[in-house]
């Protein structure tokens, strides 16, 4: 919407334009619904930032102004909050956000190799977007799925137990528009649709809640063991397969 001046003269930016009237009316109705959920209006700021991100794919200056007006804050106050949190994008980005966990455990288990492979394969660096506008690549922090390492998140749905090959196929499918299903989560929607859920509007697609069943396999290993349902080949006796620390661990180098 805004055209940047070619040379910065150090003059403060003009206020951003408002949304078109129709968009503004629609967003305002949504925003009022969100605000009503909280005893204090300002609590609605994080959801409203998700909401404006759902509109434009990132938090624009127009979006900041919208949040400020609805919550009776200054744009500086809203900007201070939006730049603190890593999920708010500051620039237009891809339809699919592919995040590779490179926190220690995933990194060691292969996340570093996956991230390197995707950078090479896509020809982009961290937080960059492919030329077709489909994929934004990011390295992300621990996403609470360490028992499924290495983990890749696409639009914040889980793609567990990845390898460089599977991750490469994943981004190829995303770019080609082929259907992609997470290992835990619902069939992918766009980044903007995901942001709307984060603003507090439930996913209304049929089957979205049920998708991929109750719990993932790693979530159930302890329960299956406790019930004596030891899956053949999955749980091996320490003496036959893996070296238990008691058997093989005492020999210090």
């Amino acid at each position: 919407m805004t055209t940047e001046p070619p040379v910065s003269l150090g003059i403060p930016e003009m206020p951003p334009p408002d949304y078109p009237a129709e968009v503004r009316a629609r967003l305002e109705a949504d925003a009022r619904e969100v605000i009503a959920r909280y005893p204090d209006t300002r609590s609605a700021l994080l959801p409203l930032l998700h909401l404006v991100q759902a509109e434009e794919g990132y938090v624009s200056r127009t979006g900041v102004r919208f949040c400020a007006e609805l919550l009776e804050l200054t744009t500086a106050e809203v900007t201070a909050v939006s730049t603190f949190y890593s999920m708010y994008r500051r620039k237009s980005s891809g339809e699919y956000q592919v995040g590779v966990c490179t926190n220690t455990l995933c990194a060691v288990m292969g996340g570093d190799a996956i991230f390197e492979e995707l950078q090479r394969h896509l020809g982009i660096g961290n937080d960059e977007t492919t030329g077709d506008g489909k994929v934004t690549l990011q390295h992300i922090e621990c996403n609470a799925a360490c028992d499924y390492a290495p983990v890749v998140m696409v639009n914040w749905e889980f793609f567990d137990n990845q390898t460089p090959d599977s991750a490469r196929r994943l981004v190829d499918d995303l770019r080609a528009g082929r259907p992609v299903r997470p290992t835990r989560g619902a069939p992918l929607c766009t980044f903007r649709e995901t942001a709307r859920m984060l603003a507090g509007f439930p996913d209304t697609r049929p089957g979205a809640v049920e998708a991929t069943g109750g719990a993932g396999p790693a979530t159930l290993v302890g329960l299956r063991l406790a019930k004596g349902e030891t899956a053949p080949g999955r749980i091996v006796s320490p003496r036959e397969g893996g070296i238990s620390p008691c058997e093989g661990g005492e020999g210090e180098e």
């Binding site: 490179t102 220690t104 028992d147 719990a215 893996g242």
Partner: protein, 450 residues
């Protein structure tokens, strides 16, 4: 004593005790219908028939302690809420699970969000709160989806809303998605974030029990703590105390991850050991052995294969020089470079430092600079003491526990693996091959077996 008896047990049926996870294998475990078939909302029925103070006393007597890391007694936290003060009271559930290695609340909520919702209604009845919040980290949309669904189901069935089950008790529950900030797992930063601000910790006192959300009395509890409450109501405090130890009673979720044969969730009594968990689950991956592990996420000091028999409860892990934390048992085998692991964790803390206080903001930055040089083989011998010195200036001198957490991996890794740091300096590079640590590096190391 229960712990001593349990140490010798090796059969999974005897070591494990699924409670929260007991029916996660049902085809639609997340639905109200499934939950109700498994005693769902029976604990609430009992609680609503009790006086609020009696519910607090029951939870206090059960000995339930916070499962989010600090281990504070849950019932005592509830008791701190002043009554008859004329102010609104709030319950805020901390579902901002972001501690590296921690992966229990997210699968719990994905498999069965109703256990949390029932616990919330019971807790709110006890502390006389009419509005509760679930602060869920934003990066887990599959869980958000199921929480939205479960909350709607609970409203529909009269477990939330006005006059719950004809008791006259009203409760609104708001699901709030965060936006990506580890620091919001710190309870006062979480409250600031929920008030629509940058997530920065507050000075304490006043504690949230006195001045929390909107300066009103507030209880902040971890997901697993609250989700454990319904079972205590249904089955009683004696049953709960029959598991674990005197000071650490009950059951809990242990999350096994890393170079183990079978990573996943293992629910058992507090006080079982990593050796027991590895014995029943298939041990380390074939051909490898344990080198170092975290008992409860990256902020808890590392332990080694000397600590396999440490009882995994609050006292046991504390006595071993670490903390039970979130029971996130990240296990690394001998292929893993400890300098690489610690460097990456330190980068995380530097990234997530909120910037409010100087020791943490500056200290984490400089620790990263030193560690990156050390890992790349560009470190100098004096850097190790400098690293310890900076870590000492962060630990205990920061505004909140993030600084202490950042220092933990550095102190503990230098304690157990100083020689490995020194090798990086003398050999001017990392002696490890990262390819051997990956899950697809299947070739076992024969020399390890020798």
């Amino acid at each position: 004593m229960t712990v001593a008896a349990a140490v010798n047990e090796t059969s999974p049926e005897k070591v494990l005790s699924p409670v929260l996870s007991a029916f996660w294998d049902e085809p639609e475990s997340w639905t109200l219908e499934t939950y109700q078939r498994h005693d769902g909302y029976q604990g609430l029925r009992k609680a609503l028939a009790m006086a609020p103070d009696d519910v607090i006393a029951l939870v206090k007597d059960s000995g339930l302690r916070g499962r989010g890391g600090a281990g504070f007694p849950t019932g005592m936290k509830w008791q701190f809420i002043p009554q008859g003060d004329g102010k609104p009271h709030y319950l805020v559930v901390n579902a901002d699970e972001s501690e590296p290695g921690t992966c229990k609340d997210i699968p719990l909520l994905f498999a069965n969000p109703h256990a949390l919702i029932e616990g919330i209604v019971i807790a709110c009845h006890a502390i006389r709160s009419n509005h509760a919040f679930i602060y869920l980290r934003g990066e887990v949309v599959p869980v958000l989806r199921r929480l939205h669904h479960a909350v709607a189901e609970a409203y529909g069935a009269g477990y939330l809303g006005r006059d719950i089950q004809g008791s006259g008790f009203d409760l609104e529950l708001t699901v709030h998605a965060g936006a990506g900030a580890y620091i919001c797992g710190e309870e006062t930063a979480l409250l600031d974030s929920l008030e629509g601000r940058r997530g920065q910790p507050r000075l304490r006192p006043p504690f949230p029990a006195v001045a929390g959300l909107y300066a009103c009395p507030t209880v902040v509890n971890n997901v697993e703590s609250i989700a454990s409450v319904p079972a205590i109501l249904t089955r009683g405090k004696e049953w709960f105390r029959s598991m674990g130890s005197e000071k650490s009673p009950g059951f809990t979720l242990y999350s096994l991850s890393g170079h183990v044969a079978n990573p996943g969730q293992y629910e058992g009594p507090l006080g079982i050991t990593l050796r027991q968990l590895l014995d029943i689950s298939g041990g380390m991956r074939p051909g490898h052995r344990l080198k170092f592990w975290t008992p409860g996420g990256s902020s808890t000091p590392l332990l080694t294969d000397e600590h396999l028999d440490v009882p995994l409860d609050y006292e046991g892990v504390g006595a071993a020089g670490s903390m039970l934390g979130t029971k996130a048992l990240q296990c690394f085998d001998e292929t893993t470079c400890v300098v690489r692991a610690v460097t990456r964790w330190t980068e995380f803390y530097a990234h997530e430092s909120c910037g409010k206080c100087t020791p943490c903001r500056e200290g984490t930055y400089w620790m990263v600079q030193l560690l990156r040089d050390l890992e790349a083989g560009k470190g100098r011998p004096e850097d190790l003491d400098k690293l310890l010195d900076i870590a000492d200036n962060v630990n205990g001198k920061s505004f909140c526990a993030l600084g202490d957490g950042a220092a933990s991996p550095i102190f503990s890794s230098l304690k157990y693996f100083r020689d490995e740091y020194e090798r990086h300096i003398t050999e001017q590079g990392c002696p490890f091959d990262p390819a051997l640590s990956t899950v697809w590096a299947h070739q076992p190391h024969l020399e390890v077996n020798a």
